[in-house]
């Protein structure tokens, strides 16, 4: 029962949360949280649902960001259609890369996606005419439609990204209760058996990959408009690792997990600023401790508690599977 109202409560809380303070830095952190949530949820489709570990996801975030920035700067492309284009371009890259990489699985897939990510990173660094190279693109216009309406404050971006997170989270939830979602899980759990039941394993994976990369692209586009700068750094190894941390520490294969993971990532690093030089050491220590003691991610804490009080329905088990 509780579990049904929880998402609604969470959304309500997210709506009023920024009103608690007028501290714009807090709002900035909230925006990062939401954008990373969107990004982590998208990666979760690959990592959590079809069960392949894609290392290069940051590249698609970057592709989306650069698409929006370049369209806006060079072609005067308006903001919101630009978001759509960012999704399409990132998804198209996802299609091509997925088409090649998804024929391979396991550790090789991990390295392959890392490789594609690195190639895109290097290309962005060197294709100076298009991307301005390592110094990136700055002065990106804020999101808007003409002069009439423009997202100007962090709050605006927060609500926009919150809207997208909620919509996408719901879509993921619905997905997992659908035939397509069952095919995803079947592929993750046992591809050979899935094929023997009529699931086209490759197409299923490709579908997941394209959706995930397209959404990452949209997240990247908003990120670019919001920060007004974008550099190849967002595609670097640091970001690749960061997204994985969010998904796995939060709880892969769940919906709350990646959102929680993004919160931990943004929030913990912020809280640890006070520790100065120890910051990253403590962060890494907490990270490993959490992985060792909560291998199923932070959401498994909730499940431990919930398991005692409720009987898990088969349906829940499916959504949560992968712990």
């Amino acid at each position: 029962m509780m579990a049904r109202f929880l998402p609604i409560l969470a959304v309500a809380a997210a709506l009023v949360l920024p009103l608690a303070t007028s501290n714009t830095y807090f709002h900035h952190l909230l925006v990062l949280w939401m954008l990373y949530s969107l990004l982590a949820l998208s990666l979760n489709i690959i990592v959590g649902y079809i069960g392949e570990l894609s290392f290069g996801h940051a590249a698609f975030f970057g592709i989306g960001a650069y698409t929006a920035a370049i369209l806006g700067m060079n072609f005067g492309f308006p903001g919101f259609p630009g978001l759509l284009m960012a999704g399409i371009v990132a998804g198209a890259f996802g299609f091509v890369i997925g088409y090649v990489a998804l024929r391979i699985e396991g550790p090789q897939f991990v390295i392959l996606t890392l490789g594609f990510g690195s190639i895109i990173f290097t290309t962005t660094n060197y294709w100076v005419d298009l991307t301005r190279g390592p110094m990136g693109i700055s002065n990106i216009a804020p999101l808007g439609v003409g002069a009439g309406f423009e997202l100007s404050s962090a709050l605006d971006y927060y609500y926009l990204s919150l809207l997208l997170v909620v919509a996408f989270a719901y879509a993921c939830h619905a997905l997992m209760l659908s035939r397509t979602g069952r095919a995803f899980i079947a592929v993750r759990e046992n591809a050979q058996l899935a094929a023997s039941l009529g699931v086209d394993v490759f197409r299923t994976k490709l579908l997941a990959f394209v959706v995930a990369t397209a959404v990452a692209g949209v997240a990247g586009a908003i990120f670019a408009h919001y920060l007004t700068v974008i550099t190849p750094e967002v595609m670097s190894l640091n970001y690749m690792v960061a997204i994985l941390i969010m998904v796995i520490v939060g709880g892969r294969g769940t919906i709350a997990g990646p959102i929680l993971g993004a919160l931990i990532y943004v929030g913990l690093l912020e809280l640890l600023r006070a520790t100065g030089a120890l910051r990253m050491v403590i962060f890494a220590a907490l990270l490993t401790v959490s992985v060792i003691f909560l291998p199923g991610g932070l959401v498994s804490l909730w499940r431990r508690f919930a398991d005692r009080s409720t009987v898990r329905t088969a349906r829940q088990a499916q959504v949560e599977a992968g712990e």
């Binding site: 899980i185 079947a186 046992n190 094929a195 023997s196 039941l197 009529g198 898990r312 088969a314 599977a321």
Partner: protein
């Protein structure tokens, strides 16, 4: 019309010919047994029929359509379901979810419909749940519906595999040693189950070493040895065949 027709099917692994020029047919509503000593090529044959292995030569036709060398998922969508000799399940999912996944082939609605919770979607999901529960009941697993597949005992896992194959509502069912891990009493129940499956219109191809099951349920039996078909006929005729006794049955021919 013939459900399955296999012509001069051959599979070689390097120098080893695992299946050699095998021919046979399966008629609608028929239960065909395939027996033969260990390593005779039965599983290899199954793998070729189901598309998980490419034949070296020969053809396979399903309801008149050539499916030789087709991918496993496409063959499955044409109505072939199988179980695996080495248990193959979705280990981390509940028994119920294992079976629900098997309804993939017969359902249509996509992700979009689930987002908008259309009426078709809801109706279909109800079907999925019902079909899945029915398959579990059929295989005596209703009590384990919420248990993870990997936590089931070996025998229960074997039955879950059958439930999965059943939930796919196949026209042709390939069972690879379904009675392995069952005692004679349980084997008897399996015989009844397979009969019921056939009565619902499914043709069955059965690989099995439990002769009681083979004798109890098969209409016809094909015997393989070293990849070659050495006998074919009614169960009664086959168990009296001296070659079959020599290479396969041994003393048990008498005790069975």
């Amino acid at each position: 019309m013939t459900i399955l027709s296999v012509n001069t099917l051959t599979k070689k692994f390097g120098g080893l010919t695992a299946v050699s020029d095998v021919d046979f047919e399966v008629q609608p509503g028929e239960i065909l047994g395939i027996i033969g000593p260990n390593g005779a090529g039965k599983t290899t044959l199954f793998n070729m029929l189901a598309g998980s292995m490419q034949p070296t030569s020969g053809t396979v036709h399903l309801k008149g359509q050539n499916i030789t060398g087709m991918r496993a998922d496409r063959i499955a969508r044409l109505g072939v379901a199988r179980t695996f000799q080495i248990t193959s399940l979705f280990p981390a999912l509940s028994a119920h979810d294992n079976v629900r996944a098997a309804t993939y082939r017969t359902k249509k609605t996509g992700w979009m419909a689930s987002i908008f919770r259309t009426a078709t979607y809801r109706a279909e999901e109800a079907d999925v749940d019902r079909d899945a529960m029915a398959a579990l009941h059929f295989c005596d697993l209703a009590g384990h519906a919420d248990d993870n597949a990997e936590s089931l005992s070996y025998g229960d896992q074997r039955r879950l595999e059958i439930a999965i194959a059943l939930a796919a509502k196949p026209a042709l069912l390939l069972l690879d040693e379904p009675a392995a891990g069952m005692n004679p009493e349980e084997g008897q129940r399996l015989v009844n189950m397979i009969r019921k499956i056939r009565d619902n219109g499914t043709s069955v191809l059965l690989v099995e070493h439990h002769m009681r099951v083979v004798m109890g349920v098969c209409d016809r039996v094909v015997v393989l040895d070293h990849g070659e078909k050495i006998a074919e006929g009614t169960p009664a005729a086959v168990v009296d065949n001296p070659d079959v006794i020599r290479v396969y049955l041994g003393r048990e021919a008498v005790s069975a």
